[in-house]
């Protein structure tokens, strides 16, 4: 037998395992704020949505963007500005963030999809750095200070989001909606074409698909969903700063996705949770957190390249869960 990869499992079975994981996950997330610090959980959810949106592009379309911080941090700025300066309601403010990230995604994507592989990645990095510089200089972002004291406001005018649990369940709801959208895109006729582009781009062209359009569409969808995560984060932490538009953030999302498992729906969630947890616990220790994440990254790439969830699917346990005989 050839070595099984996550992608080589029959779709139906994979679907069952993913459904089971998702149901357990939702139950866990509903109960979690009663055991863990809600702000930490909300941070995890924002990053998890970010990583899943990123994975839509990397794992299912085969485009590696190194500029997703522009969409994440940009949306945080747009949302923070809209809520604080324009006085928009929270939910509208987040939509402003999504709209802003969509426009940025259209611009950066337009240039990035013209090239392939490393060249495309470099274009996303260059344009995202330009945007980061813009954020440093533009008056509305308040430079190094960032936008501070963003009010959380009232959801639909009456649910007080300053209550931690209210805020948590709002974030959870947005996260689940975002995840559902991603799941739907992946498992749609359109998603099938994205996969075929990932698998063999010249062949997809020779079958008559204008590949550039599909790639741009995927890029913009990924950017918009990243914007949803970024806008949400601005409301959770009540500020937007340069950290979220910096290239380190683009790198972090690559790490989260690789760690969890590229091309699996749930993998990036675990990757994001792991990275966020590490950062939280090591923030107070004397040991530099970047060294730890760097080592974990190397171990992941060298030892379990499929990522945590990818390895689970490929393992004996994963096969047994799906009711398949071991090799």
């Amino acid at each position: 037998m050839t070595r099984a990869t996550a992608a080589s499992l029959p779709k139906q079975r994979l679907f069952k395992l993913e459904t089971a994981l998702i149901l357990i996950g939702i139950a866990g997330l509903v109960l979690a704020p009663f055991y863990f610090y809600p702000v930490f959980l909300m941070k995890v959810l924002c990053f998890a949505l970010f990583a899943c949106a990123f994975n839509l592009l990397l794992g299912y379309t085969g485009i590696l963007s190194f500029g997703h911080a522009a969409f994440f941090g940009g949306a945080a700025y747009f949302t923070a500005h809209a809520v604080k300066e324009w006085g928009l309601p929270t939910e509208l403010g987040i939509l402003v963030g999504v709209a802003g990230a969509t426009v940025l995604g259209l611009i950066i994507g337009f240039f990035a999809i013209r090239r392939q592989g490393i060249y495309s990645t470099m274009i996303t990095l260059a344009l995202a750095q330009m945007f980061a510089f813009f954020c440093l200089q533009a008056p509305f972002t308040h430079g190094e200070d960032g936008i501070q004291g963003v009010p959380r406001g009232y959801l639909l005018g009456f649910i007080d989001l300053n209550q931690p649990l209210n805020m948590y369940f709002f974030v959870l709801a947005v996260f689940l909606v975002g995840l559902f959208i991603i799941w739907r895109i992946i498992n749609s006729p359109f998603g099938m074409i994205l996969k075929s582009v990932r698998e063999n781009e010249p062949r997809a062209i020779s079958l008559g698909y204008s590949v550039a359009r599909y790639k741009l569409a995927a890029f913009v969808m990924s950017a918009a969903l990243t914007g949803l995560a970024g806008g949400l984060k601005a409301i959770v932490f009540q500020f937007a700063t340069l950290t979220d538009v910096s290239w380190q953030m683009s790198g972090e999302v690559v790490l989260m996705t690789l760690l969890g498992g590229i091309g699996t729906l749930t993998g990036p969630i675990f990757g994001a949770a792991l990275v966020a947890a590490l950062e939280n616990y090591l923030a107070t220790s004397e040991f530099p957190v970047t060294v730890i994440t760097g080592v974990i990254f190397m171990v992941c790439v060298l030892v379990f390249r499929r990522g945590i969830i990818g390895e689970l699917y490929a393992s004996r346990l994963g096969k047994r869960l799906e009711g398949k005989p071991d090799n």
């Binding site: 749609s188 006729p189 359109f190 074409i193 063999n200 010249p202 062949r203 079958l207 698909y209 569409a217």
Partner: protein, 272 residues
């Protein structure tokens, strides 16, 4: 690994509206085709006419520019000069995906399947486009099930029905190539460009692919690059010999193979 099962190609290979009549209508033609890369002229002054319901072979030694001609005709490369006409329309400036939608579909030298999709999904990806189901990101994947019947016809026609749910990556080389043909035929193309369809195949597989090509060519034009001269002699109505980017000669196999220049340039003097 198993070879392709020995199923005779069935009616699924013919296009639905086919009349099967033998006409010598030119469907794809090139005039004065030229392409240079920097100072190097890869293809120069190539005139080519591909006829409906005929198999046309493009042969020549390695580096003669056969694949470049393919890339030019399918617009994966832009010609430096010359014109290309497909079904009476000028496609010299058309982009490759549009050319494919107009009915000119190519295969590649290396087998071009989608390795991590199943056999069924490989064919459905092709069927999806004409069905208008390729941009619907809000529909469940089950929406594609209505393509299954046609997909299975095509899969059965090339003898892959037992591999329906296997990943394309797990198929043997010969089976990948016939899957590629099934995928190509799903688009019901008017003109097929096959780049070395038999390369790397065992002789049993060659026989099966020959049968499929012969069946397919009943109502389509086929242009193929092929090194196996037995296949060319057996299958092709017209042969064009390319040497150093230019056409050496063109005609039926018998005429071409008797040509002294061809014997010297390509086949060797001791052939036949």
């Amino acid at each position: 690994m198993s070879t392709i099962s020995d199923t005779a190609p069935g009616g699924a290979l013919s296009s639905p509206g086919a009349t099967g009549q033998q006409t010598s209508r030119v469907v794809l033609s090139a005039r004065g085709l030229r392409r240079d890369f920097g100072g190097f002229v890869a293809v120069n002054n190539v005139d080519l006419d591909v006829h409906h319901a005929k198999v046309h072979a493009l042969i020549g030694p390695n580096g003669a520019g056969k694949t470049t001609v393919f890339n030019l005709l399918t617009k994966f490369l832009q010609p430096s000069s010359g014109t290309i006409t497909l079904l009476d329309q000028d496609i010299t400036k058309t982009d490759p995906a549009k050319v494919a939608r107009m009915g000119l579909v190519r295969s590649f030298q290396i087998s071009a399947v989608f390795p991590h999709l199943t056999v069924l999904d490989n064919v459905r990806v092709a069927l999806q486009r004409p069905s208008g189901l390729s941009t619907q990101f809000w529909l469940p994947i089950g929406a594609l099930d209505r393509l299954n019947e046609r997909a299975m016809e095509l899969i059965a026609a090339v003898g892959l029905q037992d591999a329906r749910d296997k990943l394309a990556a797990d198929l043997s080389y010969g089976r990948k190539r016939v899957l590629e043909i099934a995928t190509t035929l799903a688009l019901d193309p008017k003109v097929l460009l096959l780049d070395e369809p038999m390369a790397g195949m065992g002789h049993e597989d060659v026989h099966i692919v020959s049968d499929i090509i012969r069946e397919v060519a009943k109502d389509r034009a086929i242009l193929m690059v092929e090194h196996n001269l037995k296949v060319v002699a057996d299958l092709c109505d017209q042969v064009t010999v390319l040497q150093r980017g230019e056409i050496l000669t063109s005609g039926d196999y018998r005429t071409v193979s008797q040509d002294d220049r061809v014997r010297v340039a390509y086949m060797g003097t001791d052939h036949e």
